[in-house]
């Protein structure tokens, strides 16, 4: 993704609308699903997606044709969610990443013993709802990296731009998110008597 905030161009009204239709609208489904996984609410998701598209259109002159429109839209949606929607909802406060990253980067190799009691077969046998519930139970920042990385396939660099954090932070957040997810799945599996 090459995002250039300085290289503004002037699209005509007609060009803007064509660009909007060709570059932005194809990502409607992915954006709606991203919004839904952040809000769990159909109406909030619709609002969030509409806001995102309106903002994208209003700032279309800062969008460079041929660059990664999807990442650009995801970034706008994520920022709108943080700024507007999260305030309204009762999302828990942000976790302290310093603590989290310190935990992950510690030299201790045998950290969470979660991998040992959660076998590959069990993950394979999990049904979609179980994985969805485990994902939904994660703090929104951890949920977001899993969505961006595993569901949408963005690169670390793209995620770093979408989330406004350095690549190193993206990395440690993914690891932490996956470890948490495994913990949740493992707890779930134990409860179900796997």
């Amino acid at each position: 993704m090459e995002e250039d905030h300085t290289g503004k161009q002037e699209y005509s009204e007609k060009e803007s609308k064509q660009l909007f239709e060709a570059e932005f609208m194809p990502h409607l489904g992915a954006l709606y699903n991203f919004a839904f996984k952040l809000t769990y609410d159909e109406d909030d998701s619709k609002d969030l997606v509409q806001d995102t598209f309106m903002k994208a259109y209003r700032f279309i002159n800062s969008f460079q044709r041929g660059t990664n429109a999807k990442a650009w839209l995801f970034r706008i949606l994520k920022n709108s969610f943080i700024n507007d929607y999260r305030k309204k909802s009762k999302q828990p406060a942000k976790v302290d990443y310093q603590e989290v990253e310190g935990f992950y980067n510690s030299k201790d190799t045998d950290k969470p013993a979660t991998t040992t009691d959660l076998r590959v077969d069990m993950v394979k046998n999990m049904i979609g709802d179980e994985i969805t519930n485990a994902l939904n139970s994660l703090d929104v920042d951890f949920r977001t990296v899993i969505i961006l990385c595993d569901l949408e396939g963005f690169t670390y660099e793209e995620m770093s731009k979408i989330l406004d954090v350095p690549i190193g932070t993206v990395r440690s957040r993914i690891h932490r998110a996956r470890n948490l997810l495994k913990e949740r799945l493992s707890t779930y599996a134990a409860k179900m008597g796997y």
Binding site: L28, Y57, D108, V123, I131, L135, L151
Partner: protein
Amino acid sequence: MGVKKLINNVRFKTGMANCAEYMDLIHDVIDDQATPDQEVYLRRHLKMCLKCVDHLNLEQELKMAIKQKIVDRAVPSDLAESIRTKIENTTL
């Protein structure tokens, strides 16, 4: 053979390699973010370390399960039209 390589070889053979340093690489590899050289470097360790092989397999399965088992919701049928209408009525 450089000293660093030699030390690494000894560590591999004696099982003293620090697995923590491979954790990042495991995620990089499953996320397709590693260079071919880095991948070779990891594979070399995997030949000696079952613990990391297990870890890689589990991470890979988890990623695949997320991809395959979390299904997309259908976009509400009126959403695209309502966005297009708003855009039509917007002048820049």
